[in-house]
């Protein structure tokens, strides 16, 4: 016998003056291999066509569908109902601006982050289309990719104690992004340059070490190690600066 699932979903349309934030329940019969992607689309198509949520690749690759599932920030597309109880509560990710219902604006948040941390290779070298590529050890390339795997879904930021207290905190995703460039030999920035960006409470010294980021990351990024590495690196940079004076 298939289970009857009850979904309690946060509803609010900020563009509709008559709408107020509230919870609404929907009931669906469970089917084989059911994911929240299937659930939410069925609710929209069969019960309430105004329901807002975000999916894109629906394959755990693009990071669009972050939401709070029974209290835990997760990607909805790879959340299977068989792993959940009969009653399921869905809330939008906190920290980000609400667009409506389960949809939030992660795009603006991350775009601002790219500018803050200057999320690009800083080099004085110009590209020469006639020359062969610069060589790189494969191990170095793989280490960079390991940090480049973040899909910017925002789950780590939504689960972060500091991010809830400080709107300007870069979060694990932002700090990881800096770490990615720090280990890239093509980027000519010095540790001092990075210190200017993350050597403060907005950056690495804002982290309280609660590490929910690591727990919720759907891509299993090595966030704990990464935060530890940056803290040590920036701590040493701070000391060096202090003794130079």
């Amino acid at each position: 016998m298939a289970r009857e699932l009850k979904f309690n979903i946060f509803r609010y349309n900020p563009q509709d003056p008559e709408s107020t934030p509230h919870m609404e329940s929907f009931v669906l019969e469970e089917t084989d291999a059911m994911t929240l992607f299937i659930v939410l689309n069925r609710i929209r198509e069969e019960q309430d066509p105004s329901l807002q949520f975000d999916f894109c690749c629906r394959a755990g690759i693009c990071g669009s569908c972050g939401m709070v599932v029974n209290g835990r920030p997760s990607l909805a597309c790879h959340t299977k109902t068989r792993d959940l109880p009969d009653e399921i509560t869905l809330l939008p990710l906190p920290v980000y601006q609400l667009v409506g219902d389960l949809s939030v604006d992660t795009g603006s948040w991350f775009r601002e982050l790219y500018d803050t941390v200057e999320s690009w290779i800083h080099t004085k070298k110009a590209f020469d289309p006639t020359a062969p590529e610069e060589r790189m050890e494969n191990e170095v390339a793989e280490a960079i990719y390991e940090l480049d795997r973040c899909v910017e879904c925002g789950c780590c930021v939504a689960a972060c104690g500091t991010a809830r207290l400080r709107p300007d905190f870069l979060g694990a995703a932002g700090l990881n992004r800096v770490g990615r460039f720090l280990i890239d030999p093509r980027d000519e920035r010095t540790e001092q340059d990075y210190y200017q960006v993350i050597g403060n409470d907005m950056g690495i010294f804002g982290c309280m070490g609660l590490l929910a980021c690591e727990d919720v990351c759907p891509k299993h990024m090595p966030l704990q190690d990464q935060l530890g590495f940056l803290r040590k690196k920036m701590g040493i940079t701070a000391l060096k600066t202090f003794f130079k004076k």
Binding site: N13, C56, G60, V99, A131, I144, D148
Partner: protein, 615 residues
């Protein structure tokens, strides 16, 4: 009405769109990309495999060069491509890979020394040279003479997209995400920008530009089963189609992949079958060894997809709440192999299906995968029909893929074509002056406002957009799928014409306020059905089999009558069928039509004498 001016407006912020915008920005022009989603969530990010470019650095790529890449591409296209364009692509691909390396893509590199690799279940040795240490390496992909596919682990598209979006941020290319273009602003000869709907507020906005570029990817979502992301719904093609003067090229050329999982249609790699996986039916019996005794499960994508469909039609499919499917069996490969070499497949099965492929069967079916057709452009990426309108990437029919594209050539096309077309856009903008006519702008805005009001107030009817969409998808699935016949396509076209009538009567159930998803769907549905008709009608009229277009009643590739590209127009709003015109597939032949060297080789040659009854 908020009105925003930019030199270049790019609709879509995936790899092709952003790469083109970078060229314009580097030439000193302002550029804005519109995107349904934050740029880095674009579907380019889902391409795992890699990009073909003839660098020839790795041992199995030795002796590779753009000529060989070009030749593979033309054969792959079944001689349906524009050979001048395929040549441009192959020549520029190696330079583009190096450009991306300079920008920060962590390409996998050559590791010198002895190594082994698998082919057809057997182990072979290879040795990478010390002198090539640290250069960009490549992996093997189908339909290529050399190992040519540059890659970043299993996340090539993701990594390249992040890099290219970084460069956009650096150069000040703006990305207006959660914004959807709903119409082009044009006077029948020149394009002046687009009317867009903000998906944060639901309000309309006007973007004025000297050059407008459509780079919104494929349109797989007009099919019910597709590996494409939910945003790949043709939303960028529709504004071009609705002008009546911009043709879509080769819309009937649609690629299917044999192993999409059921439900959700996520792709599992060909490597499963390459390493010895088998396909089973409802009785858990193999069938490919019966249909293709020689190649069995390892026949080409098209061939396997065709037999799978045939077998389901015989009633041998497995019934499920998500439709019929077959089984992929990799259990005999063992835990070590499955969690090692096929780790990605293992993760997809466990994460999305709750199936453990070490002990359980994987539900699969042939699934729409790639749109070779799209906005027809010349080799500069300039769209036919409107000055100042460009298109690039999967959205465009540029046309290097013809009737079948090779794995690794589509992701490479995004950046290679993006670079080439971006430069041409910058050239176009040099000294280009445009006079914007407020009457043209206002009338388009008014038209869109009325359209929205009418849908909200159910002026034309109360058809459910979701039901109409399902009818469209089902018609295509049934009639314009892997197997195509005159009877099936005729029925499909008729059914789509009825669906078109229904699409014109769609009205909302909800109130349509703000970012209403039902409204977004309703604004696209008529255009989507028009696209579906372009696919089906184009397929009906093309009485031959070429690449992915397979007619059971015309099984030969016919170079005498069909060495051509279909151009589909929607000339008038009240039309119920597209208008089809044809042009030569290519004006320059570097390689004359011949045998591909794989698949069937039934060919009617260009100089074969025409008989009156082809049967």
């Amino acid at each position: 009405m908020q009105t925003i001016y930019t030199d270049v407006l790019v609709i879509g912020a995936g790899l092709a769109g952003e790469r083109a915008a970078i060229e314009a920005a580097q030439a000193g022009f302002s550029a804005i990309c519109l995107s349904l989603v934050p740029a880095r969530r674009s579907h380019s990010s889902a391409a795992m495999g890699g990009m073909q470019a003839a660098l020839g650095n790795c041992a199995k790529g030795e002796g590779d060069c753009p000529d060989v890449h070009f030749s593979d591409t033309v054969k792959g296209s079944d001689w349906g491509c524009d050979q001048e364009v395929a040549r441009l692509f192959a020549d520029n691909a190696p330079i583009e890979m190096r450009q991306l390396a300079h920008w920060g893509v962590p390409w996998n590199r050559v590791v010198p020394g002895k190594d082994t690799y698998f082919k057809g279940g057997k182990i072979f040795d290879k040795e990478e040279k010390e002198e090539n240490r640290g250069l960009i390496t490549a992996r093997d992909f189908g339909g290529t003479a050399k190992w040519r596919t540059c890659y970043v682990s299993d996340g090539t598209g993701h990594s390249v997209l992040f890099t290219v979006d970084n460069v956009c941020a650096q150069l000040g290319v703006e990305v207006h995400d959660k914004t959807e273009a709903v119409a082009l602003i044009q006077d029948g000869t020149t394009c002046f920008g687009a009317v867009a709907r903000c998906l944060r507020t639901g309000e309309l906005r006007v973007y004025l530009a000297k050059a407008t570029t459509i780079a919104t990817g494929g349109f797989g979502r007009i099919y019910p089963c597709t590996t494409n992301a939910v945003i790949c719904d043709g939303g960028g093609h529709i504004p071009a189609i609705n002008t009546g003067v911009v043709p879509m090229g080769n819309m009937e050329a649609v690629q299917f992949h044999p192993t999409g999982i059921v439900p959700t249609d996520i792709l599992v790699t060909e490597g499963c079958r390459g390493d010895g996986g088998t396909l089973l039916d409802v009785n858990e019996e193999r069938f490919m060894n019966v249909y293709e005794p020689d190649k069995q499960e390892l026949a080409s994508r098209d061939v396997v997809s065709r037999w799978m469909t045939h077998h389901i039609r015989l009633g041998k499919g497995v019934k499920s709440p998500y439709g019929e499917h077959l089984w992929l069996d990799i259990r005999h490969l063992g835990e070590k192999h499955i969690t090692g070499k096929l780790r990605e497949v293992y993760e997809i099965c466990t994460s999305f299906l709750g199936v453990d492929p070490i002990h359980q069967l994987i539900p699969v079916r042939p699934t729409q995968h790639y749109s070779m057709g799209g906005v027809r452009t010349n080799k500069d990426g300039h769209a036919y029909g409107l000055k100042g309108l460009f298109s690039v990437g999967e959205a465009a029919c540029w046309d290097m893929h013809g009737f079948n594209r090779l794995g690794g050539n589509s992701l490479a096309e995004t950046v290679v074509a993006g670079g080439i077309v971006g430069k041409k856009i910058a050239e176009f903008l040099q000294g280009c002056e445009v006079t914007f006519n407020s009457a043209v702008i206002d009338s388009e805005v008014k038209k869109q406002q009325e359209r929205i009001q009418n849908v909200i107030s159910c002026k034309a009817g109360t058809e459910s957009v979701y039901k109409v969409k399902k009818a469209m998808q089902d018609a295509l699935h049934k009639g314009a799928n892997i197997f195509r016949t005159d009877a099936g396509l005729t029925e499909c076209v008729e059914s789509l014409q009825e669906t078109l009538e229904r699409a014109r009567k769609v009205g909302l159930k909800s109130n349509g306020k703000g970012v209403n998803p039902e409204l977004s769907a309703a604004l696209k549905i008529e255009g989507q059905v028009k696209m579906a008709l372009m696919v089906a009608y184009g397929a009906l009229k093309r009485t031959e089999s070429r690449g992915s277009h397979n007619r059971e009643d015309f099984t030969a590739r016919n170079d005498r009558d069909w060495l051509s590209r279909t151009l589909a127009y929607w000339k008038s709003d009240s039309d119920t069928l597209p208008t089809l015109e044809y042009e030569a597939a290519t004006n320059i032949f570097h390689i004359p039509p011949g045998d591909r060297g794989y698949g069937k080789s039934e060919i009617i040659k260009a100089d074969d004498v025409k008989t009156t009854d082809k049967g």
